[in-house]
Amino acid sequence: MALLEVEDLHIYYGNVHALKGISLDVGEGEIVTLLGANGAGKSTTLRAISGLVKPRSGNISYRGGSLNEIPAHEIVRHGISQAPEGRRLFSTLTVDENLTLGAYVRLRDKASVEDSRKRVFDLFPRLLERRNQLAGTLSGGEQQMLAIGRALMAAPQLLLLDEPSLGLAPILVKSIFAKIREINEQGVTIVLVEQNARAALKLAHRAYVLETGRISLSGSAQELLKDERVRKAYLGEK
């Protein structure tokens, strides 16, 4: 059984029909990437899984139970956390405070929270050096590390990453992708939204391609890397 299953999901922003019947599934331990042009509905899909937008119709189920009626702030408790598009750090709070908030729903479990914090610092030693600095004063790369670290503090089983490479220099992109693989190898299932299709397909097991609110293609990452349409539209080849 899939860890996450989305069935015929329709999302509206007012009159804007952003998702027009998306279906996808994510298996335990997988990295699944969502590709697509600007405005295709990638972020909306992640926002829906986190409960920030609620479906008009369709169903999102996680470990067999529906998430449709669960408010956003409860969804983290089910083991789903997100590093959102644009990072959305708490800029006037310190790195440490941002990390603590990532673990907000399980702060009573002090030992385990400190354990997670240590693991985040092991993964991103840079954050340890900067732990008392305000998040808004970090460099772009450091901010992305913090966004991912903050999401990891929830000790998620399912991690949603929305464009983690956005605005980073190529060398940093490489290192962030390596970290994502490392997180996955530690047993965290990942849904990765990316503009950087080539790198994402190399990292992921499977992929879905979104086009104006619908899924136009899906398959194993290797298949899609070879697919004619994908090469033309997303890998910049002729």
Binding site: S50, G51, L52, P71, A72, H73, E74, V76, R77, S81, Q82, P84, R88, L89, F90, S91, T92, L93, E97, T100, L101, G102, Y104, V105, L107, R150, A151, A154
Partner: protein, 304 residues
Amino acid sequence: MEQLLQQLVNGITVGSVYALVALGYTMVYGILRLINFAHGEMFMLGSYFALTLIVSTRVGVLQLVPNVLLGLLLVFLFSMGLVSTVGVVVERVAYRPLRRSTRLAPIVSALGASLFIQNAVMLTYGTQYQVFPEGLLPTTVWRVFGVEVTLMRVIVLAISLGLMAALYAFVQKTPLGTAIRATALDHDAARLMGIDVDRIILTVFLIGPALGAAGGIMVGLYYRQINFTMGWTYGLKAFTAAIMGGIGNIPGAMVGGLLLGILETLGAGYISTGWKDAFAFVILIAILILRPTGLLGERVAEKT
């Protein structure tokens, strides 16, 4: 020199009350980008509740309560609790239904709530001034460096500075306080952390009115005369203090309140007593023109 010192002490005393009330404006604005124009009424209600409690339980007169200070402490706690309840009701009735509407609607609603509370108090107590009983506290006066310090003044300062320190520690050091600061910055990001934003709003509408009420009680005890319109004048001054410190900025509200109290007292002392109440508005207008983000804050400019 002594006169200046005396005025500074006076200014800090009244300023600390402005600061307490300003915190209510600034915290609500921080979370909801809403100016709670009914907040001045929380201040007024605190004063009226306290007066009623003092008169009906005869604190300090019949010695029903063994100790006046203990009695006053209970009066503070009860009145603050009652006003918190009113604050939460106002949020539910006047603001929550309008949360997703235009920015103008909640302002109109706030003014409506304000008028409603004022009229309710006027109908209950009448339009005349109400007077706190005399001689609740011994009129002890200390002289420090030629400055007269009354027991009442010491109590006002101790309570308001104590409450501010407690609030500051709460907001800076506790998980709930950190969640309040995070929610002020980004509601959706806060939700992703598992923060229940409605609970944060509720918390802010418990704390703000309680602090405002404490201010109102102290003004009642200090000046002894209260009126159902007092929420307007003090509310506007506290609002000025919040703007001075940069609305949304908690330490800013504290600094703004103290500064306004000092400026106002100095202005009354050295320029003209008659214009005392006008200074606040001159300052408010000057700040809005010259430095709309306030002295400490950039909150107004930061995403609206």
